[in-house]
């Protein structure tokens, strides 16, 4: 029996991913799917370094590494011929990757806060600037999931957008008095929220926040009125892999209605397959597509170096 190597996030995510998608695939085809833990940037680096002889046959990447991978030409073109389920995927989850990758699921970024420590619950991004939150907010550090989204969201509150981020920088500079610290990951953020070091986590996905909520902590998670930012992970099949067919079979399997429902209901995420239906908690906690605010990553990525510099100096410095 053959097999191939892909990537996976850890913890409950991996558990649900295996249960909903990988195990059934392995059983069905009698193959082994090796999943590499680690970080997205490392997977991407590995893909780039080993472009000629890939170690990772299929990368599962989040924003923004997925877009970087596309720009670097890491993945091979995908098509409904080999992956029939792509036909059921909303085109925006395929087209934004230039058809060289396809989305698995989406999550929404919102605000998590302590109900006991916050007098006026935040409802919109703009509420983060409330002087009552002085020194009580944490924001993702640049490079951390949610940081780019934070910048774009901030820009939008002041009339800017992804190609005009100046207002975003200005807004975040003004947010500084409220920022206790820039967090370096969701655990870091949730830890601060749980211990009361901060009252508000400005930009986090729903999964970690609901972990606190479900364990009875006085925490709430809201999708801001002015629209949730979106997180998405996508499949990229390495260009020179010898296992391309198997990878594509796997993607097709992952995009199937059954897998999508099983997986998204478990992790509380939105399916990319339009036929899939959420139920239970997932139905309540995942915003509909029209509540999402997307933006053009392709415009942000070329600016990243400059953005980072500015962030370091103007916001974090």
């Amino acid at each position: 029996a053959g097999g191939f190597t892909s990537t996976v996030f850890g913890g409950v995510w991996e558990k649900n991913y295996r249960a909903a998608i990988v195990d059934s695939f392995e059983k069905k085809l009698g193959v082994k799917v090796a999943l590499k833990l680690g970080t997205a940037s490392e997977w991407l680096t590995n893909g780039m370094v080993n472009r000629a002889k890939p170690e990772i046959d299929m990368l599962l990447l989040p924003y923004p590494d997925s877009i970087k991978a596309v720009r670097a030409g890491i993945g091979m073109p995908l098509s409904p011929d080999k992956i029939p389920n792509i036909r059921n995927v909303h085109p925006m989850w395929f087209d934004q990757f230039r058809k060289e990758a396809v989305g698995l699921d989406y999550v929404a970024y919102g605000i998590a806060y302590r109900t006991d420590l916050v007098k006026k619950p935040p409802e919109a991004w703009s509420d983060l600037w409330d002087p009552a939150l002085k020194g009580r907010v944490t924001v993702p550090n640049i490079g951390v999931w949610g940081s780019w989204e934070m910048l774009v969201a901030a820009a939008r509150t002041r009339g800017g957008d992804e190609s005009n981020l100046d207002p975003g920088f200005k807004a975040l500079r003004e947010l500084r008095p409220n920022i206790r610290r820039f967090f370096s990951g969701s655990t870091d953020a949730m830890q601060m929220l749980d211990t009361g070091e901060v009252s508000v986590v400005a930009m986090t996905t729903n999964i970690p926040a609901y972990a606190l909520i479900d364990s009875g902590k006085p925490v709430k998670f809201v999708f801001p009125k002015d629209g949730s930012m979106v997180g998405m992970v996508s499949y990229h099949v390495a260009r020179n892999t010898a296992n391309a067919d198997l990878c594509m079979q796997f993607i097709d399997h992952a995009l199937s209605k059954e897998c999508q429902e099983a997986f998204c209901n478990a992790v509380i995420a939105g399916p990319t397959n339009r036929l899939a239906r959420l139920s239970g908690k997932a139905a309540e906690r995942v915003p509909a597509l029209d509540q999402l605010k997307l933006f053009d990553w392709a415009k942000v990525i070329p600016q990243m170096s400059e953005i980072t510099d500015r962030w370091n100096q103007e916001i974090a410095g």
Partner: protein
Amino acid sequence: MNRLLSLGMRVLTVLLYVFLLAPLAMVVVVSFNGGPVPSFPPTDLSLHWYGEALASDNFMGGLLTSLWLAAAATLVALPVGVAAAFAIARGRWPGRTLVESLFLSPLIVPGIVIGIAVLVAMAGLGIGNAPLRLLLGHALIVLPYTLRTVLAALTRMDPTLEEAGIVFGASRSQVLRHILLPQLRGAIAAGAILSFILSFDDVSVSLFLGSAQHTTLPIAIMSYMQYNFDPSIAAISAMLILATLAIALVVERVFGLKKILGS
């Protein structure tokens, strides 16, 4: 005055031990939480998260990988580092000071850069063997410790003992084996222990050098924490502390730790 000073010293010493151990004690306490998130003081006492940690393939596989990797890296770096320490302490060649400093560069270069550089270089050579890659990276980052600890001890070693060895017919390798190494035992053990622990603890270098089949425990932990915020990490840490304590106790009983870490 003198009495005050020595009382002050005693208090400071105790405070320092408290400082070293307090956060770890907290971790151990937190690990007994039954609930899904860590809280202090623990909500309901339970060994639940110990069970979870022990049942995880990632953690247990990572533990194995980390153990062999730390052992192998130490085994590679130890002789090499000890030999270099001898060359530097006992040789008379130009540029020793510079070379001695260069041996520290694995400490200075951030782990991510070491990881990436080794990854790129080995890919360039067409070597995709993750264990080999990990071993190289880890041997590099622990090399400075094996060198330094032995070098410091060698500086103050009485050379007449070596001379006595030679006089009584020991070859150079016998002097090494019977006289120098036993006396450097403490320093070598210290270097080995540091090496092992550091290799075991490394995240940055391993991140770029591992593979799906060869993931170290710290990487498994780090990945776990991307989505989870529960006391299983505390449980793992507590188990590591307890396991180490147990090993130390056994070693103490069987060999006497002071013999290994003593002069």
